[in-house]
């Protein structure tokens, strides 16, 4: 498979394929130029996606050399959704139930993962949008040192996930970090927040908001700067207060850019894995992607892992469709 990829753009420097290309129609030329991109996408995205779905319909084979057994249809999905999949980490449910009042003691692991992922995505995107809007409004002003303020706001977005995790891992480490003491002083956290599900969830949330708010800010800033400044002058002359200018000009005009930014962030937030793995660990805060890795590595249930992976994709596409509908409505409203 992968050998094909390389040999494809191998004919690059040769003259005869180039001459052949010159004589073809624009349409053929277009398809030829698209071939490398689609070969890459086919090998890494399209083919694996189909394979993942096929794997998810096979049985788990725990002992044999090949981890997949015979065709079992939708059994893996049924077992997952009814909570009958025996995850080795099932005991985690106990510590989860202590931490999360809203999770039942015997809730199936998958439901916990879906809950954690959705809660994380929704809460983080809401906070990031609000704070990012604030940052965008600051960056939209022209002031001395704006360049440097912008750099320092972008930097958290550009750092590796493992380092983001490391910062918050150290900060909330009971021995060296000040975060635990501070939160305990507020009366919120327990003595070792990174091993308690609720506390660790909040830490992961804060870490994500710290890092990715800048992304929201930049996208919203682009929306802000596309607004015609003349509108503000007109509003000023008619005596609108800055708050009114924000409410009646900025907000409606920036709404499409805002929704696009939120769509991107939500998709990204629902893939959360690295941050959790580097701070609290997948057993403490199980997201959907975590569940894929747990069922793959610790219990060798490849078929179940495939089913979880495919379900994750389904949940995300559900969100995408909802957003696209909202986006279309908001465009219709403006036009």
């Amino acid at each position: 498979m992968s050998t094909d990829t390389r040999s494809d753009d191998g004919g690059f420097g040769l003259t005869s394929p180039l001459n052949w290309l010159e004589t073809q129609s624009e349409e053929v030329y277009a398809y030829v130029l698209l071939a490398p991109a689609f070969l890459l996408l086919a090998v890494v995205a399209f083919y694996p996606l189909i394979e993942t779905f096929r794997f998810s319909l096979l049985a788990n084979e725990l002992a044999a050399a090949d981890p997949f057994g015979e065709f079992v249809g939708l059994d893996n999905y049924v077992a997952l959704l009814t909570g009958n999949t025996p995850f080795t980490q099932q005991f985690v449910a106990v510590s989860l139930a202590e931490g999360f009042p809203f999770i039942q003691f015997d809730a199936p692991f998958l439901q916990q993962a879906i809950f954690v992922t959705l809660a994380f995505a929704i809460i983080s995107v809401l906070f990031e949008t609000t704070i990012g809007f604030g940052q965008a409004l600051v960056l939209d002003k022209d002031f001395y040192g704006r360049r440097w303020v912008r750099v320092s706001i972008i930097i958290p977005w550009a750092i590796p996930i493992v380092i983001q995790g490391m910062i918050f891992f150290l900060m909330f480490n009971p021995t060296i970090g000040f975060g635990t003491d501070f939160m305990q002083w507020l009366g919120v956290f327990g003595s070792n927040p990174l091993s308690s599900s609720t506390d660790a969830f909040i830490i992961v949330l804060v870490a994500d908001i710290w890092k990715t708010t800048a992304f929201m800010a930049l996208l919203i800033l682009a929306g802000l700067q596309s607004i015609d400044r003349g509108l503000y002058d007109v509003a000023k002359v008619s005596g609108a207060s800055p708050w009114q200018r924000f409410k009646y000009i900025t907000l409606p005009l920036v709404a499409p850019a805002l929704l696009v930014a939120m769509l991107f962030r939500t998709m990204d937030a629902m893939r959360i894995y690295g941050l959790i793995d580097a701070t609290a660990g997948c057993e403490t805060v199980p997201s959907l992607t975590c569940l894929v890795i747990i069922s793959l590595e610790s219990s060798r249930r490849w078929a179940t892992a495939s089913a979880v992976a495919f379900l994750t994709a389904v949940v995300i596409s559900g969100f995408v469709v909802a957003y696209l509908l909202a986006l279309r409505n908001s465009n219709g409203g403006v036009a």
């Binding site: 498979m1 694996p48 409004l137 002003k141 750099v151 996930i161 900060m171």
Partner: protein, 340 residues
Amino acid sequence: MSDRRVDDAEPTAVADGGVAEGSAGGQPALDETADEPELDRGLIEAWAAKMISNPDRAYRATFYVATIFFLVTTLFPFYWLLMVALTPRGSLSDVGVLTPGGFNPIAFIEIFQMLPFHRYVFNSFLIATIATVAVLLVGSLAGYVFGRLRFRGRNVLLLAVLVTSFFPPAAFFIPLNRLFNRNVDALRPLISDGSLYNTPYAIFIPLSAIFLPLSIFILMTFYSQIPDGLEDAARVEGTTRLGALFRVIVPLSAPGVATAGVLTFISVYNEYFFSSLMTDGRPGSWAPMLEGILRFQGEFEVLFNLMAAASIVAVLPVAILVIVAQEKIVSGLTSGAVKE
């Protein structure tokens, strides 16, 4: 403006009339030095009165407070990380919020002695560079086609590119993992055991594909803005179609290419999912930088100060890249999204 100020000032002057009357001669002077509050007002009260009489000042104050708040919240974690890195191992529990628990920068040397951390960083750099080159090459061809050519199926193909960026990496991982662990005889001359696991290929092939859509969108935007006449002129001069692309269109869109390159490099360097799963974590197996940092969680003792020092070393390249190329990052992120 001044009318309103008088209106605001008058009721208060009446309210604490006793004092105001005592300095009756000063009453006209109040208008001239209107920014000064009456003498008997408390500091906060006076400040509030100023804000009410002059809302613009209130908005400006909010602006400065917000700016400082954002600066502190984004930069403080890095400062604190440095404090941890500078603390000697014995006194790590003394790290304060603003001060280190001692001073010993030896951690920045120890990270290279205890583990070949430089090798991990090199691996990351190599993988990110190869992925960037691959994405720019493949993405240039695709971006050119989507940005400048008309052909049947354009929208369907563009949608297919977009859709791949919706799916979580986990949905691709299991088949890829099997594929890369399989021993392919054709690869034996290149790689000792014939499987791609534990080679840079296992990381940069998936990551190139995953970050390809963003680059295609960025390059598409930039390429479509080049006037047709320039390309036609080059063709009349006798260049081939591909020659026109790489000699005229790509150089003219240099800012766009740089943008796509910077974003791809940062994304690959920062990636966690494939980077942590496609190697066994040894530096000789092309494990990237993140494995190096996590390795300082040693078997007997967690080396907090070394983790912090390693994080600072690994963050420096991207931090410098952001400072140098911030305009590119901003324009790239926004054009990639607006295209949607």
